[in-house]
Amino acid sequence: MAAPIVQVEHLYKRFGELEVLKGVNLAVAPREVLCLIGRSGSGKSTLLRCINFLEEPDAGTISVAGITVPAGERSGAHKRHLRELRERVGMVFQQFNLFPHKTVLENLIEAPLVVKRQQRESAVALAEALLAQVGLADKRDVYPSTLSGGQQQRVAIARALAMQPQVMLFDEPTSALDPELTGEVLEVMKNLARNGMTMLVVTHEMGFAREVADRVIFMDGGLFVEEGTPEQCLENPRDERTRRFLERVL
């Protein structure tokens, strides 16, 4: 495997009494598409949210694209480090979380202008190219509330891409959508994968995992239970828990 672009070492996270991550190790290669599957409460979303420190891990180390951030530090230098890491990691949420008081275009250029201090013209040009890429060039001046869920999620993907991240995290990106709207979002994600984006996807879309993923990891009880290619993990699971999970969702 090439030098990993994402490296997670000995990651622990607990919420009160509940230990959600019990020493997770993970290395993701550049251009790899990794799907995390498992029951709710298995720790897959928490793992994703620890990678860009939306959840502060209790112990462990996260490295993304050469930036290493250990858990549990509070210094100013640590916070700067953390933001640099976040600049390199795009995230797409289950609930889209678009900024409702800003137009679609403003949503896309906000972080490039404020965080990266890009020139306005170049930020707008990139934003327009990304909107075209997700098929929403004509929606640049409307407010998010006028869009369907599928359109909102495609804007959210474009917004994350506007920061030109090296890794994209997807936290159940189609779970809040009506079934007929999931296709357009998955299509955008497939394109992204084809263009070589490194992607970590928490999903219940087994079809997407089978078709796009290079590797599938099944999580249970805060640990990796099984991992391998989609064929190994989804067609011929060795672990009993994976088999039972797949029986229920397929």
Partner: protein, 278 residues
């Protein structure tokens, strides 16, 4: 409507005139206002054994002192506007402090809010104007009144700001953080604009209430509307007339403020409305 009426067993009743509700409201407003005016008309008459006597106003006094009392309006407005700006700033700072994880700041804001909400506004006016000079803090009447109003309303409004900030979903903050924004950038550019929209009606009501509470400044001798009304009315035993003049002004100012408030709310609601696409 007509078809249902035809089925009802009301054979001989003549068809009643249907007045639209808005028109009915307008008519009744006029009736009540006319009645209110009538009470102060000075008219006296009797219906059989019942004597009807309305209030006789000293119109000479009103004609003579109307301009004098009205001069206080400018001072009232000045005090209200200065206090609104200061109170809003203070409220925002106190709300941010109350939401922060910095213990000394958070608790300081808590103490401030508790103290200001726990004591009467009138006491605060007197305290700042009359008590503080003993420790060397001497403010004129206008400054004292502005400080008292700003401190007091800042405390109440900070709780409104805090609620508004908390009403903005956690997902908004997470999205901004995930894009690499700092906590301050997130607050200023993502959370506060949405919070302001949520609290506009409540803040507007605070402004209206404050505009009337400027009248307490008369107790420390500030020449605003209330003070001038008392100066004119008291020596001439013309309480009725003087207070009515002041009341009319306060009422008018409140109506203007309310109108401004509704304009602001409409403006704020604009991007929330589902705009037509295309």
């Amino acid at each position: 409507m007509a078809s249902r009426a035809s089925k009802l067993p009301t054979p001989s009743a003549p068809r009643r005139l249907r007045v639209p509700f808005r028109t009915a409201l307008l008519i009744w407003w006029c009736i009540w206002l006319a009645l209110l005016l009538f009470f102060f008309s000075g008219v006296q008459f009797s219906i059989g054994p019942i004597q009807i006597r309305t209030i006789v106003l000293n119109t000479n006094f009103i004609a003579e002192f109307w301009p004098f009392i009205s001069r206080g309006v400018l001072m009232t407005l000045q005090l209200a506007l200065v206090s609104i700006v200061c109170a809003s700033t203070l409220a925002l700072l106190a709300a941010l402090a109350r939401l922060s994880r910095v213990a000394p700041l958070n608790s300081l804001a808590g103490l401030y809010i508790s103290l200001m909400r726990g004591t009467p506004l009138f006491l605060q006016f007197l305290f700042i104007y009359a008590a503080l000079p003993r420790v060397g803090l001497i403010f004129d009447a206008f400054t004292s009144a502005a400080i008292a109003l700003s401190l007091n309303y800042g405390a109440y409004m900070s709780e409104i700001f805090r609620a508004g900030i908390q009403a903005v979903g956690r997902g908004q903050t997470e999205a901004a953080y995930a894009l690499g924004m700092t906590p301050w950038q997130t607050m200023r550019r993502i959370v506060l604009p949405q919070a302001f929209r949520i609290i506009t009606p409540d803040i507007g009501n605070q402004f209206i209430a404050m505009q009337k509470d400027t009248s307490l400044a008369s107790a420390i001798g500030l020449g605003e509307l209330m003070q001038l009304a008392r100066q004119a009315g008291n020596p001439r035993q013309a309480f009725f007339e003087a207070l009515i003049v002041a009341a009319l002004w306060y009422w008018l100012l409140t109506i203007v403020f309310s109108f401004g408030q509704s304009l602001l709310e409409k403006r704020m609601a604009r991007s929330d409305r589902h705009q037509e696409q295309g």
